[in-house]
Subunit: 207 residues, 2 copies
DNA sequence: TCGCTAATGTACGAAACGGTACATACATTG
DNA sequence: CAATGTATGTACCGTTTCGTACATTAGCGA
């Protein structure tokens, strides 16, 4: 073996491949042997670093959520008017979902399992708050200036935006099949992006 | 064995339990033995009637989609104004999703597997058209009367409504965990239902 | 009522699968 | 440069899991 030892590299290699396979095949559908085969190391290392299949899955989940949190924290809307800010938030959320399908699929997988693993990862508690408070702040500004309606809740707005974005990525297979429409095609994506912005702005500016 | 033979009953018993288990555990997570154990018959019958695990899953999928089609076909909106009609469609879709979580979860499961099974069921081709054409008709009426905007596509409207409804059921576990909110609680459900109607009507009546 | 077929039950097999025991090589440190 | 613990590879084990061979029973038509 020419390959020199590199614990961190082995760990991240395992995590990367595992993320791909768990998101593609689901938790139960993923095979430990297949994950190992596609890395430059062996199955033994999964047990060495993560304890087992579930431990690896938890690590994948945590890493994926951590990445999304970083993206959210890099999102600033202070310099925009409330109306522009909500549109920007909606559009960036939209882009983020389309650009990270593996993460969205992982969330679906976790929901199939009733979120039973998510609850085991302490570090993910209250992970939603940044997104909600950013929206909350923008809504408060809009409420004060009279540009946005005053009877909506930040979490409800976030949920509406998320649902629209998640659906496109998570349900593209069945929806595409039933309606003969590829939701991931560039032109369709562009139209949906604009529509989402219009809907959100229209909703929040109505009085 | 007092139980008399009843092929149809055995078949439907298997289908019912399989629907529950596949929707709860996913395709790979479901166990043939567990399904069999929870029916009044044996595993042997799964192979006798459905050929195997995949055949059973396909039958479950087909039955579930058939049921939803029947519901959709029973939805009439001719007697309502275009605006009332879209709100009614949105609200009934919302109710239908909340009332049939097993079906929604099955769709998620199928998407995890990239819709690979759905494509094998010939009878499900163009299953989406009824829903789209109902909306199309209402949109046409609204366009003619000037009550609804004329630059929206029925499938896009359907997608927006579906995404909102699907999310609440399919992602309640992770969303509930991250935001500490139970989307299936009666009062929350009632608010979300109203919000959806408001959003859709607001969107389609804007000019 | 007799026989034939649809329907059902039992027991078992082969492969897949998650996991582990054991040996070993590398690298760091004293 | 010896010693020690980290990191890695190989081979294997026990169980689970899908599937099937074989036997049997119930009911229907002749």
């Amino acid at each position: 073996m020419v390959q020199s030892r590199d614990a961190e590299r082995t760990r991240s290699d395992l995590l990367e491949i595992a993320t791909e396979i768990f998101s593609e095949q689901g938790y139960s559908g993923a095979r430990v042997d297949e994950i190992a085969e596609r890395t430059r190391t062996t199955k033994r290392m999964i047990y060495y670093y993560f304890g087992g299949k579930e431990g690896l899955y938890l690590a994948v989940l945590e890493a994926a959520y951590r990445r999304i949190r970083e993206t959210e924290q890099g999102l600033h809307a202070d310099h925009l008017s409330p109306v522009d800010a909500v549109r920007r938030i909606a559009e960036l959320t939209f882009d983020h979902h389309h650009d990270h399908p593996a993460f969205i699929r992982l969330v679906s997988v976790e929901n199939i399992h009733h979120g039973q693993h998510l609850g085991k990862v302490e570090s993910l508690r209250d992970l939603g708050t940044p997104a909600a408070s950013l929206l909350d702040e923008v809504l408060a500004r809009g409420r004060a200036s009279g540009e946005l309606r005053d009877d909506v809740d930040a979490v409800d707005v976030h949920m509406m935006i998320s649902s629209y974005c998640v659906f496109q990525v998570a349900n593209s297979a069945t929806f595409g099949f039933l309606f003969g429409r590829d939701m991931l095609a560039p032109d369709v994506r562009e139209r949906h992006r604009r529509i989402l912005g219009d809907i959100v702005v229209g909703w929040l500016t109505a009085h």
